[in-house]
């Protein structure tokens, strides 16, 4: 599996180094101009953000960038030890207005979310782990129309809080199950699923969540769901899956159930 790693310090002039390595990696592995271009812009935006906002001590910090080709996707993971920032759940407004009216806050994240097929965020220990994912095959269209973001992970007091947004159907059920399984493999026993952003869940989605729930129970762990909207609640009820999960109305109640489960 082709991969490459580059480490830089938190200075804007270092961005060019990363993009040079990324471009060479892309060319060396036969990636299209569009994939290389879009990933370069996204990596530039994320690293610029880190350099501008992540560290407030004025000291030099290392940023690690890992590139991987996985099946038909280019994954670029960016790790920094700055303040926690989850771009996945951060709102990026659609740009509009004339030259005089135009506000540019959030434009960088809007570009990232529009250009990437997926963005995943994990806060592990004292580091931000952000993975940018771009499909390397198939129609080279911009995915801006639909919500391209699906999974975010924050770890709080040993509890992994996982947000899933968009449509949870068969096309992504396996992937989400794999990511959650990875999390369990890394030692997570308690997962709180935030489903506020969920638009739809199919039976494939239910089955993958059930598999995760059983996997956690087998390890004396626990899965709790919260933030289920009316539409999605109806799907839980109709499918008969509602009774198979621990469901809480709020995040605090969910965290409470998980804290108790550890005792």
């Amino acid at each position: 599996m082709p991969n490459e790693e580059v480490r830089i310090v938190n200075q804007l002039a270092e961005i060019a180094k990363v993009v040079d390595v990324l471009d060479a990696f892309g060319r060396g592995n036969g990636l299209s101009e569009r994939v290389r271009h879009d990933m370069s812009v996204a990596v530039d935006e994320i690293i610029s953000n880190i350099i501008h906002h992540s560290h407030r001590d004025g000291a030099s910090h290392e940023i690690t960038v890992r590139m991987n080709l996985v099946a038909d996707e280019l994954h670029v993971q960016i790790v920094d030890d700055g303040v926690a920032f989850d771009p996945v759940s951060h709102d990026a407004p659609r740009p509009s207005g004339s030259v005089a009216e135009r506000a540019l806050g959030g434009l960088g994240l809007h570009l990232v979310k529009s250009l990437m097929d997926d963005v995943c965020y994990y806060r592990l220990g004292d580091s931000n782990h952000l993975t940018l994912i771009k499909k390397t095959t198939g129609p080279a269209s911009v995915s801006g129309g639909r919500s391209a973001l699906r999974l975010s992970v924050t770890i709080e007091d040993g509890i992994s809080i996982v947000g899933i947004s968009g449509r949870f159907d068969s096309s992504i059920a396996r992937e989400i199950k794999e990511r959650l399984t990875q999390l369990i493999g890394a030692g997570t026993k308690r997962i709180l699923l935030n489903l506020y952003g969920l638009e739809y869940i199919s039976s494939a989605g239910f089955w993958s969540l059930l598999a995760i729930s059983r996997e956690l129970e087998a390890r004396q762990g626990c899965l709790v769901l919260y933030g289920i909207g009316d539409e999605v609640k109806r799907l839980f009820d109709v499918s008969g899956f509602a009774g198979m999960f621990k469901i809480c109305p709020t995040r605090e109640l969910g965290l409470g159930v998980l804290r108790e489960s550890a005792n």
Binding site: L12, S40, E45, P95, V99, A100, L104, L107, G108
Partner: protein, 116 residues
Amino acid sequence: MEITEIQSGTVTAVAVKGRIDGATAGPLRDRLSKLIASGLSRLVVDFREVAYISSAGFRTLLIIAKQSEDAAGHLALCGISSEVRRLFEIAAFTDLFLILPNREEAIAELAKSGGS
């Protein structure tokens, strides 16, 4: 990033080569600001050799557009590749600028514009 200026009659073309990123957007802004401040009111920014533009680059373009408007100047962009044009569309920047296919047409267009 490299910046080259070419004077053509009353129009100044600025050819940009490389990446307009978080590190290079600042120097580009300073260079274009200086041209506007020095009284060169008809500016063409040629994107033919721009590999990509990030949000920092869009910020620079917006600042330059405002300065150009304040100076009653004329600004045009040209030579934008299909990849870069896609970014202009995502950023909703296509309507904010006069965009022409190439440098020759951009220079001809600005040479026609009124004022000094």
